[in-house]
Structure formats: C-alpha cells, structure tokens
Symmetry: C2
Subunit: 493 residues, 2 copies
C-alpha cells in the first residue's frame, strides 16, 4: 500500500485524470476485478459511514424508519409500471439459474442447465416495484398511512462507462419509499426530503447546491415530478447529488395498493421515493480537493486531527508522548477524532504528505523546540497555512479551527459556484461559454425539442428549474418563443 | 397492519409454529414474493440495527475497519480454493445476462439473448474469494499486515427449505476477513472474534452460549479450524449463532497473496474469516419469548419503556400529558428510549397486548387515581408482574428495573440451558433422551464414521468440542474406542 505522492496529476492539466488518480492514491476506492464494480477501501468507507450516520439521523428525525426488502426482483414486476420499465429495466444483471455443478474434468464449475429459474430475477436497480408489491399487504386503511420506509443497500445498473464513485455498476445508496393518503402529503414529503439532502450537502459536506425541479425529459422513470440538488464541481460541471420523486398514484395503481379513506371510499395510495448514493463521495472529493490531495470537511473527516512528533532519540519521544497523551484524552472527550502517529518506520515528511493527501483537516506537529517552549505547530489543510501556537488551550484552538475550516471550505466552494453562474439570453454566446463550464440561467420555452437541440449542440442539459432565483417571464434563447422562467443549464457528470 | 393477538399458538402445542407466527405477528419480518427471501419490517430492522451498532463498535475496538467488496463474483474465482467450491459454489444465484428488452407484444420484457456474459457471475454466498483476490494487490510486505477488514452486506445461498431469520436465501450479515504474517496471529484473531461474539450474545442478547471448536466434518469449507458459539433454544435444540474460521494459508495460496517477511523471505499470508447474520434475530426471539409474544433484552429493545395513559375526557388526558412530559425528557437524557402512546384510536387493552407482543421491557400506566396519588403502575415484560410505585424517582426505578430484566432473562435462559445439559455415556440412553432436546456431553472417538452414525440414527450432530468444561479421557459411547474428550451433541436448527 505504498503511496506515490509525486504522481498526482494537477487539476489544471487534466481534471478528470486528477480525480481518478486521487481516488486511488488517497486509498478511497479501486476498480474491482468485476466489470464496472468497485472496492470501497477502509478510508473511503469511513467517510461513507459518517455520511450514513448523519443522514440516517436526519431521516429518523422526520419519522422515517429503516427496513429491508429483497435484492432480487421477479422480472414480471418490472413491467407493471410502464414508464418505469422503459427507464430502468433494460441494463440489469439477470439471474437465470440457481445452481453450479462440478465440470467433467473436475477442475472447475459450470452452470447446471437443470437449475434454470422459471422466471428470471433481476438484481434491483431500484426497489419501487418490490416495495410497492409489499405495501399492498401493509396498507388497507388511512390508519395504516403514512408508511415511511428507507433502506440502505446495494443496487446494480449495468453501466457501460464507469468511474469510481460517480458511475459504477454496483453502488451503495439509501432509497426511501413513502406511501400517503393524499396527493398534498406526498408532494410535501418529496420536497421535505430534498430539503434534508440540501441541508446535509451544505452543512456537512460543505457543498453548496442548487435545489430545483427536473424537466419532464430528465424525470425519474415513473415520476410526476423529480426534485434535485445540483452541485458544481471545480471544472464547472454539474453533479446531480440527490433526487426526490413525487410518484403520484402510478405505483399504487400498478401494484393495486388501495386503502379506505376517512369517508369509507377506496383510493390508491400516493407515493414518493428519494435517494442518495456513494456518488456523494465523488461530489465531496471534486468540490474541495486540490493538487496536494483530498480536502475533507471536518464534519465528515474520519480523522479530524493528526499529531506527528519530531524527535531525536527515545527520551525525547517519550517526553513528547507524555505531553501529548492528555491532549488526546481531551480531544476524545470533546468528540474530536484524533490520530497520534508516532510510528518510527516512516519519516515525518512522508507522514505530512500522506495526511495531506488524505485530507486530514488539522495537523499538529511537536518537536524538541516546541517541547522546550510549550508550543505546537498547527497546519490547516484547507489553506495549508502553518502557525506555531501555545500548547495551553490548544484543544479549544483546534476545535475553533475545525469550525472555521468547515465554514471556509463551504464559502470557498460557494464563491466559486456563484462566480460561475451566468444569466444568458443569447444562444451563440451560450454555446461558446458553456464549453468552459459553469451554470447557465436561460429562458426556456418548455419544449422537449429545444431541450434536445441544446443537448445535441453542446452536450449540456437542463439540470432543473431552480427554486433559488426570482423568476420572470422572457424569451427562449433558442426558439425565440415565450418562456415562463429561467432554467439551469450545464454540462454534467 | 391490524394485529391478531389471539391467534398466537402456544409453545407447548407447536414450538415451530409458535415461532413462525410470532415473527409475523410481532411485525419483525415476512415472506417476500421472491422465493426464499424475506422482508425485514421496521420493528425487526430496528432490533437488527441495534445489534449492528453494538457489534460494529466491538469490532472497531479490536482494530477492525469496515470496507465494501463487490456483490458479484466471477465464477472462476470460486474454483480457486478446492474445498471452498465444494462447500459453497453449488446453490448460488447465477447472473448470466446483463440486459432485458421489450417483448414483441410490447407488454413485457424478456432477457436479451445478445447480452450474454462471457463469464457468469455469482451473487456472493460469502466473500473469501473476491476479497483475497483484492488483498493480492494490498499485501506485499509484512508492513502491510495485518489487514483487518469487515463488511456489512447481503449474501445469497439458494436454500430449499427456508424459515424467517433462521434460513433464508438472502440474508444480511457481517463478514470479517483478516490477513496476518504468522499462523499464531491468525489463530489468535479467529479466537478473539469468537470471544467478541460470545460477549455480545451474553451481554447484549442475554443469550448464554457454549464456545467451542467444530469437528472436521462441520468445518467451514476451506478452514483449518472453525470456532462456534452454540445457543440452546427453548425446545432444547442448538442454534449455531456465530462462527469464526482459521483459514490457514489456503486462500493466500489460492489467490497468490505473498508478502516479504522481516527476514526478506516470501511467505503466503494467513487468513481468518468470521460472521454473524440476521440468524441472530432467530436466536434472540426463540431464547426469551413466551406465549404472549416477544421478550426483548433491554439492551437491544427499540422501545425500552412505553407509557400508556388511561383517562376520561380531554382535561384528564392533558393533566396526564403534563405530568408525563418531564419524565419523557428525563428518560431521553438518560439514554432510555421511550414511547408515550396517547393515541386515542386504540383502547388501552389493545395497546397493552400489542406492546406485550412486541416485547417492550417496561410498561408504565398512569390513570386518574395515579394522578391523584402521585403513583404509576409498572409492568415488567419478562415476568409480567405489576406494581404501583411512587412517581417520584420513577426514572431511577425504571433504569434499575431495565438492568434487572437484562440480568433476569439471561439467568433464566442460562438456568434452562444448564438444566438441559447432560453427560451421557450410553448410546441407547442417548438415543432416547435426545428426542426431547438438550445438549449432550459425550465421549467421541474422533472419527467421521461415528459422527455420521449418530446423525443417521438421531439427526443430532456434534456441535463442537466445548471450551467450558474440564475435559477427561474416556470411551466413545458408540464405537467403544478410546476418546480424548467429550463433545457437545444436539439436534439443531
């Protein structure tokens, strides 16, 4: 697991290559020997676990409960909701047999042709179908509603071009599936969960997001409305970071989930679904990191503070150890995760580069002179600034610094994002500028034709109708037809 | 989701039926419409989450880190370790295709014959192969060791006869996979993790377990030694509740995981693996529950205390609400999970039966007279005993009661278990007694022949060579040959 620090490509040279290298060099993930799949390594998984813990608490605050539904979905379930199957059932892993047997030469195994399934099973690409098939048995009366379930699980979509975290055939995610007695309640839930995602992205990941609603073309297969959060990466491209869908009664009807309402009338249940995935790891990495490696927000960093001693001889090391131990105890009591790296098989310079690469927010270094002077050197990862401060009260100093870093990287990302949002009313200008990235606020006539033309000409897509801007009527920059509002257009991951 | 309380079969009538009904009626899990798979419902999943949280912390205390490896395993990987494939590769879900397409009548989907995989992929039944294939890239020097990874995930084994939690085609588990530089270190780790499982079972699940080592016949496919914890259910049958395997260098050799040791010599890495699954839910349910429903250990109960008001009119309800609210705040501050059920659409009697069925350890009831007298009625689920106590200091009373219940149900289970462990030296006597359940400590000559005969005659198997008893030499009760120790024999789930 030797780390090659020198090899990291600069962002300005090749942003895409920089990302691919960084994910591997920082020990976050690697390609598996299974097509399109990844291995999430312990350091990467530790970040994902922190995300999960925070999100899970946020979901539960809103009344959501976790549950678990089967991995495999009977093929026929997928066809029940017509639009859904068009969008989802195509690129899937299909289970056709349930047994292997030893081959004739007794040196391997083959699929037993006699163990063919009557109906093929699909590895879930998303679970609306199997879950609504289950809800049918749970929901009979308005008293059974709402049902607010979430599951943390793996899903598979057979992707042709994959990139670690951003697009992999198997990925980890959560998928919430709720059932409601009224349209209003379901719509409110879909919007509420988008708000949870936006809060999480901004407060914990320090990633500013644009909230909005997707155009019909970009909607989830089977949804009446898809709400989205869109983040801007350092190359100006958009990364869709979480979506929440108002599904109307489509799945209620497809799986015959009817309930008796307060007036004794039968109606179909209203649905939402919403999810975020390990793709968030990609957003986190690409928003903050630099040419030295990861920059992690303190709120999600597995190690928030690393302490490295620089010493001559065992006596000095012991003196530093004795000085540092009470500080470690204080950090732990404050809920600050700390690593004291006094391993003697690596040089301090190597350690410094390694922890920079891994994005540890704060580094403390104590050497012989610090010991004499009762000081410690503090380095903050976001700006790489160093200063020497008094050892007394260092725990409070570090705690404040962690808060400061969390705020600073959010501000930096937001300033960058805001500096690259352009209002644009001229299609020629748009076509030129969009090549260099950025979010474009443009009037749109609401037709799929215009949307398709923009995509064909520029590869950019309508990311959403954003909530965050005051909207006025205008003229579509492509067709010249009237437009009700500006939409957010960008090239995207 | 109406609850039918009256329908629960008594344990004495049909223990197996009682279990099957209880799992469904207590809202823990249900059969999915996918052969052999289950849906884990929110209440059941909440218990599993508590188990996960505790176990995960215990693993991390020993230096283990979480990671994630692919769901799908190339078929050829399974054949690399000869014994492993014999034991595992047979009853598996096999992915052969990666695409569906719309059928000719446009009302369904079919498997696209053109999207056939070159090599079939297996849904993991366990992950030794894919993980050791990955470790090959991580391990080069003794400095890279040990590697201590765990993953929480789903696995599939195509089971013919399934029972909720006990044996399902898909189940949730954790699988730890460690790599070491020496045999001694690997063996110590395998034993250490068994100890973690035993501690968890006894301290949190309140389930007493026998720790021991499996006979060769019962070993994990590919292991040199399998350590196990065996629990006794109320019908006297054994439930294997967790296993830890010392795998020697089998996987190191099969996947060519070599490292340079301190002396510069190449050697193969030594391996362990260890896992517990949602089967633990079965052990938990069957050890403690009674004819009224679940009995949950306070340490794992999603709701530790439920409070039910009995009132006449809105004024009295408001008075009780006002009295109870500060108590709820106190419980929460103490880390005690509490539910205040003042819903007015269910009768108190219905609520009582429901929370009994769900195994909530402590129930508090406050009525009009309690309000006058400053008292509250306390019911403990384990003994169903009720008493009326002063409201002052009730939070401390309840906290102590929760501790008392945790201890009491462990003691009850242990007393039951110990009363059903028999030393037996006569095979005829054994054959008679084993029909009624219980653990039998018998001398065994160490041969697979004797083991097979016992199984054929009685369906009982050697569960383990237990650690917990003083061992002496003796005579095999079946063959009459010399025996080095007594083994634990029982019928099992």
């Amino acid at each position: 697991m030797a780390i090659e620090l020198k090899g990291l490509t600069k962002r300005s040279e090749d942003y895409s290559k920089w990302y691919n290298e960084l994910v591997v060099k920082a020990d976050l993930a690697e390609q598996a020997d299974v097509r399109g799949c990844m291995v999430i390594k312990p350091y990467g998984y530790a970040i994902w676990e922190k995300m999960q813990r925070v999100l899970d608490d946020m979901f539960k605050e809103t009344g959501v409960q976790n549950a678990y539904f089967p991995l495999l979905i009977p093929k026929s379930f997928l066809s029940r909701e017509a639009e859904h199957v068009e969008g989802f059932a195509k690129e899937c892993a299909v289970v056709t047999h349930y047994r292997l047997k030893t081959n004739e030469t007794h040196d391997g195994v083959i699929v037993d042709p006699e163990a063919k399934l009557e109906e093929e099973l699909i590895v879930r690409p998303t679970s609306e179908t199997i879950i609504w098939n289950t809800y049918k048995n749970w929901i009979h009366s308005y008293r059974d509603l709402p049902v607010l379930c979430n599951q943390w699980c793996n899903v598979m979509r057979w992707e042709m071009r994959t990139r670690l975290f951003l697009r992999t055939s198997e990925f980890l995610w959560q998928e919430g599936h709720t059932a409601h007695a009224t349209r209003e309640e379901a719509e409110a839930r879909a919007k509420q969960m988008l708000k949870v995602y936006a809060d999480f992205a901004e407060r914990y990941m320090a990633v500013p997001v644009v909230q909005g609603v997707k155009s019909e073309t970009e909607r989830f297969a089977g949804a009446l409305d898809t709400y989205t959060i869109e983040a801007m990466m350092q190359d100006g491209k958009a990364l869709q970071s979480g979506t929440s869908h108002f599904l109307g009664q489509n799945f209620g009807k497809a799986f015959d989930v009817q309930f008796t309402d307060k007036d004794g009338k039968l109606d179909y249940a209203w649905a939402t679904s919403w999810g975020v995935s390990t793709r968030l790891m990609g957003a986190l990495i690409m928003t903050h990191s630099d040419d030295n490696g990861l920059v992690l927000p303190p709120a999600l960093a597995p190690i928030q503070v690393v302490i490295v001693p620089i010493y001559k001889g065992a006596d000095q090391l012991e003196a530093i150890n004795n000085k540092i131990q009470p500080l470690i105890d204080k950090f732990k009591a404050m809920g600050i995760s700390v690593k004291y790296d006094n391993a003697d098989n690596k040089r301090p310079g190597f350690k410094f580069a390694d922890y920079e690469l891994k994005g540890v927010p704060v580094r403390l270094v104590m050497g012989g002179r610090d010991l004499e002077n009762n000081t410690v050197e503090v380095m903050r990862r976001d700006t790489l600034e160093k200063e020497t401060v008094s050892f007394d009260g260092i725990e409070t100093y570090v705690q404040n610094l962690l808060d400061e870093i969390q705020k600073n990287i959010f501000k930096k990302a937001k300033d960058f994002r805001d500096a690259h949002i352009y209002e644009c009313d001229d299609y020629e200008e748009f076509k030129q500028k969009v090549k260099n990235g950025g979010f474009f606020l443009c009037h749109w006539d609401g037709t799929a034709e215009t949307e398709a033309k923009i995509k064909a000409d520029t590869q950019a897509t309508i990311r959403c109708v954003p909530y965050m801007f005051e909207q006025t009527e205008g003229v579509d920059m492509v067709s010249g037809k009237p437009s009700k509002c500006r939409v957010l257009i960008a090239r995207s991951y």
